[in-house]
Amino acid sequence: MNFTFTQDQLDFQEAIASMLKSEVTADTIRARWSAEAGLDDAFLAQAHELGLNSMLVPEALGGLGLQATDFILLAEACGEVALPEPVVESVMVSTPLLVDILDQGLGNADVQRVIDAVLAGEARVAVGHSINPCINYADSADWFLLADGNSVYLVPRDAVTLDAKKSVDPSRRLFTVSFNPDSQFLVADGDAGASLQRATLNRGALATAAQLVGLSKGMIAQSVQYSSDREQFGKAIGANQAVKHLLADVAVQLEYAKPVTYRAAYTVGVSPTRADFAVSHAKSAAARTALMASRNCIQVHGAMGYTWECDVQIWAKRAWALAREWGDEGFHNNRIHEWLLRKNALLGPEFTFGRGSLTDVA
């Protein structure tokens, strides 16, 4: 057993994180709020150059053949800078769904074509799921993977209707997406479709969990900085235990949310349809951490914290939105309850990772 990341994984994270920190700043995020398309094409091109789009695609299909555990730290890094574009969702949710469809011998000629276009950095694919009322950045997607009942459809942009919705988080560009479930777009139905949707839900929840972990990290860093700079009563406010403890409480939650999220990434990589428990645990822990981080970090910033000008709102509002996307705390806690209270639930220490646990597909 080895619950750590390899040096290669850590190095890759560092490279991506430093690129993100220089390209995605509070100022460039605010600039997106008033821009027509609301996305940074140059940044997306750079992310593609670095290989993000092909990371989780098997080598046989022309990708790098890496696993969710290879990407999870990068997803976290995207959250840490509050990246608005749905890069994590694209790499971790929509592309793997296309791969699943091909793997299972489902779909039509479009699927291969779309994967090739994604690998070439020429197409963006968005995923719809009944648990989310809206799709983020749907206006910049070329293709949509949409669900209707158990069925899954691959629909081109010109065959869907988008209706813009506004989010509390000004960085998010939400749309409800409607389409005519025509058989020419059908890629899977029945049990196969349901299974694809289940895996997609788990990947989506994991993608948000990782970003929530990163968002929490980002908020703590800003708050540590602010509480070190801001003085009252002749000393930095961070010198007061009352202020320290606000951030220490978040740090504890954060460190405990990380291994849970990494474990979920492992499980999703091995068996996305059997990862309910691990993913729900991760989403629940990460959401709780990020909501606490939002609350405490605004508090640490005092009156500045609830102004529009203060950048914490960018992170806090994202956390509030992502905490609900791909299942809110209630949904995921209920999945944990169901799993725990099953007949013959395998709960002993011997089942933490090994045989008989959900990670064991043999």
Partner: protein, 398 residues
């Protein structure tokens, strides 16, 4: 202990309720339930007109002595007024600061000339006030204020220079009371003055601050040789801190009962939505609704207890815990509201940034635990003043 109101009080309640019901009609129907926290930027002109309407009915400044147009209302009657006002959906009071802060301060510390000049317009709903305490460098640490007031012998006026911040509704007000440093060499709470300053003058610049709700209730107020007359200092030069702290003591929490009625309205709305969208079937949500209800009841009982106490205006232990308690309760209510709404919690109306009532509640409750003394400062006050624990050391810098 007597947990009921007298027959005379109940009759007063009926009088208040009838008057409000008769008058929150016609042109004032639209201000019902508007202008509260997070909504203070709406219907400003209508709410100012409403203050004049209240004044006609003798419902402004009811705690003031009759000599100055008040009713000399008892604590019980003031509680009843606030409860009925909130129940009727009376709009957020534009005259709140004049009524509850400026007025009582002048009555206690002001000269006869100041009372004659400033009290009638407040009482008649014609002059609106704001509060100039906090500064960029003086938030939790109020005694660190740097705004300066200099007496100009030539003109016989005070000249004020500096910056105040988080000044609620300054952009809709006529006056601000300003705590400023008279003696350049003075430290902390010594050498301060308490000034009454007109906002409509060349030396005053007001800039609204946008909150994370996208709305702007409070402001930065810049004073650049702003003036007020020699008669516009309350108390003696150097007594500013005493006056300012006395002012805070007048907020005995009478309006807290009205605030709790607003909380009740919010909780009722949340329960209504939960029943409608099925969230009320979720055991976790049910539990939290019950906790919210219990918390609000507890708050109400404690306020009653607090108001039943001595008349000297000093803060008792039960008053010290109030801010911490309600702000934490209200913050949790905001979170509950979002969880009851589910995925819809994220969606806002089309338009610039139009939050619905519950979203506004959620975001605005983030400020509740900060303004008027953060929860951390409140805990220090409870520990140091109520429990008598050793004081946290101050820094030596500056």
């Amino acid at each position: 202990m007597k947990l009921s109101f007298t027959a005379a009080d109940e009759q007063f309640r009926e009088e208040v309720a009838d008057w409000l019901n008769d008058n929150l009609q016609g042109e004032f129907a639209k201000v019902r339930y508007r202008g509260g926290p997070g909504d203070e930027h709406h219907f400003v002109d209508e709410r100012k007109a409403w203050e004049r309407k209240l004044a006609e009915g003798r419902w402004t400044c009811i705690g003031w002595p009759e000599e100055w147009g008040g009713r000399a209302a008892s604590i019980e009657q003031q509680v009843i007024f606030h409860e009925e006002y909130a129940r009727a959906g009376g709009p957020g009071r534009m005259g709140h600061i004049g009524d509850t802060l400026t007025g009582p301060t002048l009555l206690a510390f002001g000269s006869e000339a100041q009372k004659a000049k400033y009290l009638p317009p407040i009482r008649n709903g014609e002059a609106f006030w704001s509060q100039g305490y906090s500064e960029p460098g003086a938030g939790s640490d109020l005694a660190a204020i740097r705004t300066r007031a200099v007496f100009d012998e030539a003109t016989g006026q005070w000249q004020i220079t500096g910056q105040k911040v988080w000044t609620s509704l300054a952009h809709e007000s006529d006056y601000v009371f300003v705590l400023a440093r008279i003696d350049r060499e003075s430290k902390r709470h010594h050498g301060l003055g308490f000034f009454l300053v007109a906002l409509d003058q060349p030396g005053v610049t007001i800039r609204p601050i946008t909150q994370l709700t996208g709305t702007a209730e409070f402001n930065e107020v810049y004073f650049d040789d702003a003036v007020c007359s020699a008669d516009d200092i309350v108390g003696a030069p150097g007594d500013g801190w005493k006056v300012a702290m006395g002012l805070l003591g007048f907020e005995r929490g009478v309006s807290t009962l009205g605030q709790q009625m607003l909380f009740q309205t919010e909780l009722d709305e949340i329960v209504r939505i939960a029943k409608g969208n099925g969230a009320s079937r979720d055991p976790d949500i049910r539990q939290r609704i019950a906790e919210a209800h219990i918390g609000l009841r507890t708050m109400r009982y404690n306020s009653m207890r607090m108001l039943s106490g001595g008349e000297d205006g000093s803060l008792s232990r039960e008053a010290m815990i109030y801010k911490l308690y309600w702000s934490s309760w209200h913050r949790n209510l905001g979170k509950l509201a979002m969880d009851v709404l589910g995925p819809e919690a994220e969606l806002v109306e089309e338009g610039p940034y139009e939050l619905n009532k519950l979203q506004s509640l959620f975001l605005f409750t983030r400020a509740d635990t900060i303004y008027g003394g953060t929860n951390q400062i409140q805990r220090n006050l409870i520990a140091e003043r109520a429990l008598g624990m050793p004081k946290e050391p101050r820094g030596s810098a500056k």
